[in-house]
Amino acid sequence: MVLIFVDHSDSEIKKSSYEVLSYGAALAEKLGTSAEALLLGAVKDDLATLGNYGVSKVHQVSNDALNNLDAQVYARAVADAVTSLNADVIVFSHNQTGKAVAPRVAARLKAGLVAGAVALPDTSNGFVVKKNVFSGKAFANVNITSAIKIISLNPNSFQVKQTGGTASVEQLNITVSEPKVKVTSVNKVKGEVPLTEAEIVVSGGRGLKGPENWKMVEDLAHELHAATACSRPVADAGWRPHHEHVGQTGIQIAPNLYIAIGISGAIQHLAGVNRSKTIVVINKDPEAPFFKAADYGIVGDAFEVVPKLTDEIKKLKG
């Protein structure tokens, strides 16, 4: 059985969970087995509707101790669920929660983990999962040799598929240990689209000259319902918050559309964004290296091009 870990925050199922559900369902079909979901804690959503993403059952462990993420507590619960449900493959999203929990589950169950998978496994000779390595500059095909196998899927690498079913929801009775990590405050940027989940990202570099010029970037992002990002020197200079810094040493993203404004396209920057499906570069220097990695480009002054782009998108949407 393929067991899919359903992640949530603020009582809502995360978008990345639908992606891993679709992935897990496709994997189960390939293996000729069933796909089931595991949810720790509680959400507002009706769990039966997860059947629409290809799972036959949803196992829920309701316990207040699961409201905050303590990786130790979560991993124990997932591992116990895997054992009691007899799962062979466990699927996580390679998001913040997956990065905290999946490795612990792997060590606990002595299960091989491929972290950052980008495709379904090839099962013709072993269980070979393609994953992102060298920060998006290459892929490795990794064989998992243990009996239980764990995959964490890179966000935005699998197409969500609605199958139109309903799932049965079952309470799973497992002991949940006492959390040792106490969350004392949560600081979420309200109203913004989270960078790692965004389908469209609008990003600015040193070419924008100063923080006061970010309004036009934000306007464009707003029109596209996009997240905003920046290059490293921009975050280092304090023009933008650290959590917007993308690249080799920042966040790695793979949106459908990445719009780079006034960014030269240094190799370390590209390492964080080169898995984006479509890249648009706006730069006044035709020799900027970013154009080599781009799908579409405008050679021009960002201060003229960006407001026009925002207007044109408004027209398209209106």
């Binding site: 925050s9 995360k14 990786a71 130790q72 991993a75 998001n95 913040q96 905290a100 999946a102 490795p103 612990r104 792997a106 060590a107 606990r108 091989g112 983990l113 491929v114 972290a115 072993g126 393609k130 994953k131 390595v133 060298f134 290459a138 892929f139 490795a140 095909n141 990794v142 064989n143 040799t145 243990s146 040792k180 990590v181 969350v183 004392t184 405050s185 949560v186 600081n187 979420k188 913004e192 989270p194 960078l195 989940e197 650290h242 959590h243 040493t249 790695q252 559309l257 370390q268 479509t278 648009v280 154009f291 080599k292 990695a293 799908d295 579409y296 480009g297 405008i298 021009g300 398209l316």
Partner: protein, 247 residues
């Protein structure tokens, strides 16, 4: 207090990535090796800062790797730290690495174990979590701030769309990223001192890897950029809408 920092070695960020032997091995010729930036700039520098405030702290570095790791370990020791341990084994299975570090950590009685957020070559973000599980201690991943007071740590960690602040008692494993500390450059005194700091080499524990790399591939090259004139932004929007279908 005892701190252990996990140091891995990675190709320099500007390295050209290519493969040899039928795409089964990374082509190392011409590659410059560095300390994995997350391990160096954030985990190690933060540990050094803590030691600067409290000289009684013992700071050890640990690596799982062959003799080719030694120059990178000396570079790390030049930044700071009392001694280093190298477990003499080459393997990129995260579980294998975590078990090796756990064996040493269990003996050493460390209060704080710091790793980088991920290696920039293997990008797994896994060793820290596995290590914490093997030691049965809490794990705080993707930290952006680490404060330690006596027997507890206060840590900010990245969550979707923001950060949270966690409190946890020691011992704990924390994976570090940007925000935790600032990059430093080793000085001459550090470099000289590093030469005589102990670098213990020990043999690995017997453990089977749970994964192995079968082959590597490079992404398909981009078709080439389509340029649109700066006074024809409308055309870009049309292409994004009709051709790329992304808006």
């Amino acid at each position: 207090m005892k701190i252990l920092v996990c140091i891995s070695k990675t190709p320099d960020t500007t390295s050209k990535i290519s493969f040899k032997e039928n795409n089964t091995k990374f082509e190392e010729s011409g590659v410059q090796w560095i300390i994995n930036p997350y391990d160096e700039w954030y985990a190690l520098v933060r540990a050094i800062e803590l030691k600067e405030k409290d000289a009684s702290i013992q700071l050890h570095l640990i690596s799982v790797g062959g003799a080719d790791y030694d120059p990178v370990i000396r570079k790390a020791l030049a930044l700071g730290g009392d001694e280093a341990i190298r477990i003499n084994a080459t393997n990129n299975d995260s579980y294998f690495i975590a078990v090796q570090i756990a064996e040493v950590a269990k003996q050493g009685g460390y209060d704080l174990i710091l790793t980088g957020k991920e290696t920039i070559d293997y990008n797994s973000s896994s060793v820290g979590g596995m290590l914490a599980e093997l030691l049965d201690v809490p794990y705080i991943s993707l930290a952006t701030k680490v404060e330690v007071n006596n027997s507890a740590a206060t840590v900010n960690r990245e969550i979707e769309g923001g950060e949270e602040t966690d409190e946890v008692s020691l011992p704990v494993v924390i994976s570090c990223q940007k925000g935790v500390a600032e990059q430093r450059i080793p000085n001459m005194r550090g470099i000289m001192a590093a030469r005589t700091k102990p670098l213990k080499v020990i043999e690995p524990a017997a453990v089977e890897a749970l994964t192995n790399v079968v082959s590597y591939e490079l992404p398909a090259p981009k078709a080439g950029v389509k340029l649109v004139a700066a006074d024809n932004v409308q055309e870009l929007v049309r292409l994004l809408h009709e051709e790329a279908k992304v808006i």
